[in-house]
Symmetry: C2
């Protein structure tokens, strides 16, 4: 057995432990009675410890030093990703990791209360501690990875792209938005207001419809489940994907578009290369890449005129009511509405990147030490005014709205907009490559799109980093032009 | 940190891994789509390997050799149980364990087909291999545990009682049955036939009723779930118990009594001593003890005249129909019916022990080498004729009916009847100790019984072995007299 063979066995074992943890996390969100929470926390901690132990024990380092993966590009990349994972796991001292777990957990608890009371001061000292520890983490990771400190954090969520790539893309988008947003608003306000279908829409009927649409998009019931949870997500494993949603009986659009979003994530997991299952190179290419797959299904395909023309009659059949409510043109005006708002998760696809750009700028400044935590509310409000021309009335609708920083997740936010832009870029390339893509959507058939994505994205696993994946699939690295063209076609005509 | 402290931490870690595995097993039976099966098998195998590794690594043996638990009875028992678990895990060579896993798995697959075709010859060579390996396992375990070979196997399912204790109890029951069964049949046939409520009984209504009754019996929804699976069981963990059932819309009695049975198991888990959670002494006292808790709820409490008088109106309210069908007297005749049959799992409480006694005798002979696998069908048919006066028409309804032996589980069968007898013995003691126990049942209130069991059984964890647990709770070791008195009162008057 070669060192490389021993490593593939070891990483398969680590991945299998992580699969178990993923299933238990799904259960905690979708099934577990409240009384099981404490024990579940212990179970997940023990599994994480076992996986971390297998990754960091001396035998791993010995084999990584000795291993030769041969000339095959996949094996070569796999070994590089093993070394990368090992570096990330060993670069940060164990006592710093523990301090972060404690500080993040304490801060997140206080944050829930602080957000409720719109009281940033109450959580500020805790956030300062979290940021201080994240900075230490970044300082430990950066030299080991050969990246800048902020990029070393971003790398934990999305490999293969850094702040130097993202900053100009985001800056260009900011400029686009400056002109496009007022124009889109003017065009929108000149059109009739959309008609909103009147409920109630029984949860059971919504669920049946969501299941049918998800399956029609290609997610096999033999390899997936759809359940309910407070916060919708896609979890589980590649052969047993678990997606969740929640049902509002007054408005079916949240569950419907939410499930199609999670279906996009799920199809990515289902399409990962089976030959490299449980190997680093067989995993999804990162959080930005993952978001591109949820958004290409939800935003690009399912909110397209073509798909809505097919969907309308299905909705009418499922819920009854007034057929004019379900006309594609009305659904388009209803579900593609631009609005300047304070809350990122409620934002439309045109203004969403502004929320991300704001956070990207602020978290870079926090990590660099250029912005103190005490200055965050002011910087937030100034930034939002610059980007969207609005100022939140309180910090609950400002810098307290997202859990991420308060839970120690810094470097994650760009992934959302990388995903949105990549989705548009991939869609444009798919339209060039695949005849009949939109004709398919008009029949509710996503298979031409999904088939192309399986080859260009899903089946590529982690062979390439973010920008190289885009380059191979679309002929260029991340470029906001396709996203801007998409928005122009959808909102500015 | 003392050696004992290190051991408690280690065993807590092992228990936490086993909790994760228990949850994943529940998921596999109740939730998992079929496509997840292969990965789930890997996940469970890795977790089992990790737990086994922690138990058998040299540091465990070193600490076990050095540990001193002090004078406290619980800690003393805990250390003894740690040593016992370690002995069981290390006494059997790893290559024998692997050979058993392979042989059991192969045999069980062939058995499914063989049972379908009533073709014992097809599976006989595989069963011979399984039995041969079990005999080697028993030969390895026996000297390490200081037990006979058969008792060493039984010990894997129920500590604290052996064949020498069980044999006379079973022999006495055989004698009782010889007289009691014809008498019960005569009395039963002299009474009017029971009226069977006519369905359909919608699964949703059955489920709602099962939930309500289980909760009324004391199982808190904050610490439990009720779901569906092909084979009903009780799984999960002490703070998050998962019970399952299946619904037949023509007959609600199976789900109803099945759920009360699993509720008995669940209440045992819920009542285990919290101070020793995740320690060997904090676990349930064995499979026989566990079955005593399911049967005391299902057979002793819920099929009692008192409980049925309360239950009848609830059934009428849930399902509607003819009130006379739900009279306690009719429910008693319907759900307490003696019948000589071939199939163990369909047997009533009077004839069930005959099925177990048959298997107890045959598996002892198999382990001792006194019975060859080729002689099993004949010995089975002879034994059933002796015990119940009937002979199965084919081996599918004879020695092929149960999975246990074909999956390598030898020494397990006695637990069912140990449980049934212990349930009657505990019920008799509870009636002596607790005023108003039956008056409570007549109000649907199990809390006087469950309160007593929490003290006498649940809260005792594994402090005592089976016979000592009974002795402490009832004043005597296992004694079939209480079970016979129960049957006499229920069937012979």
């Amino acid at each position: 057995m070669t060192a490389y063979d021993r490593l593939t066995a070891r990483f398969a074992r680590i991945a299998t432990i992580n699969e178990a943890a993923s299933m238990l996390s799904w259960d905690a969100a979708a099934m577990m009675p409240s009384g099981g929470g404490a024990a579940r926390g212990d179970q997940l901690a023990v599994l994480a410890g076992l996986a971390h132990g297998l990754l960091t024990e001396p035998a791993t380092a010995d084999d990584l030093a000795a291993a030769y993966a041969g000339e095959d590009a996949w094996q070569h990349a796999n070994l590089a990703l093993m070394r990368h994972a090992h570096t990330r796991a060993t670069a940060v001292p164990a006592d710093l990791v523990e301090a972060q777990v404690r500080a993040n957990s304490a801060c997140e608890k206080i944050w829930r209360e602080a957000r409720r009371n719109a009281d940033f001061a109450a959580v500020a000292p805790h956030l300062a501690e979290v940021v201080s520890l994240v900075r230490q983490q970044a300082q430990a990771l950066a030299p080991a990875l050969g990246l800048s400190e902020y990029d070393a954090l971003m790398d934990g969520y999305q490999r293969g792209i850094g702040a130097a790539d993202v900053a100009p893309v985001f800056a260009a988008y900011g400029q686009f938005l400056h002109t496009a947003l007022p124009l889109a608003e003017a065009i929108q306000s000149a059109k009739p207001a959309p008609r909103r279908p009147q409920g109630p829409f029984p949860a059971a009927a919504q669920e049946a419809l969501c299941r049918a649409l998800s399956e029609a998009a290609g997610l096999e019931p033999t390899h997936s489940r759809l359940d309910r949870s407070t916060h919708p997500f896609c979890g589980g494993t590649a052969t047993d994907v678990r997606i969740t949603t929640r049902y509002n009986e007054d408005d079916f659009s949240q569950s419907l578009m939410g499930v199609m979003h999670e279906t996009g994530h799920a199809l990515y997991e289902r399409g990962l290369p089976v030959a490299y299952a449980r190997q680093p190179v067989g995993e999804a290419a990162g959080m930005g890449a993952h978001e591109s797959q949820s958004l290409i299904v939800e935003m690009q395909a399912c909110r397209s005129d073509a798909y809505l023309s097919w969907l309308g009659p299905k909705l009418l059949a499922a819920f009854g009511g007034d057929a004019t409510d379900y006309a594609a043109e009305n659904l388009g005006r209803l579900w593609r509405r631009v609005e300047r708002g304070f809350i990122r998760v409620d934002a439309d696809e045109m203004t969403y990147p502004a929320h991300v750009i704001l956070r990207f700028r602020l978290e870079q400044a926090l990590v660099a030490g250029d912005l103190a935590v005490s200055g965050l509310p002011g910087a937030w409000n100034d930034g939002l005014r610059d980007l969207l021309g609005i100022v939140p009335p309180d910090d609950a609708r400002g810098c307290l709205q997202d859990i991420h920083w308060y839970d120690g997740a810094i470097g994650y936010f760009p992934s959302y907009t990388l995903g949105a832009m990549a989705a548009a870029q991939l869609m444009a390339a798919a339209r060039r490559d695949v005849a009949g893509l939109d004709a398919g959507l008009a029949q509710g058939d996503l298979s031409p799109l999904i088939g192309w994505l399986r080859v260009k994205v899903h089946g590529q696993g982690s062979l390439l980093g973010f920008n190289d994946l885009l380059r191979a699939a679309t002929g260029k690295p991340l470029d906001p032009a396709d996203f801007e063209a998409h928005l122009t076609a959808r909102y500015l005509v």
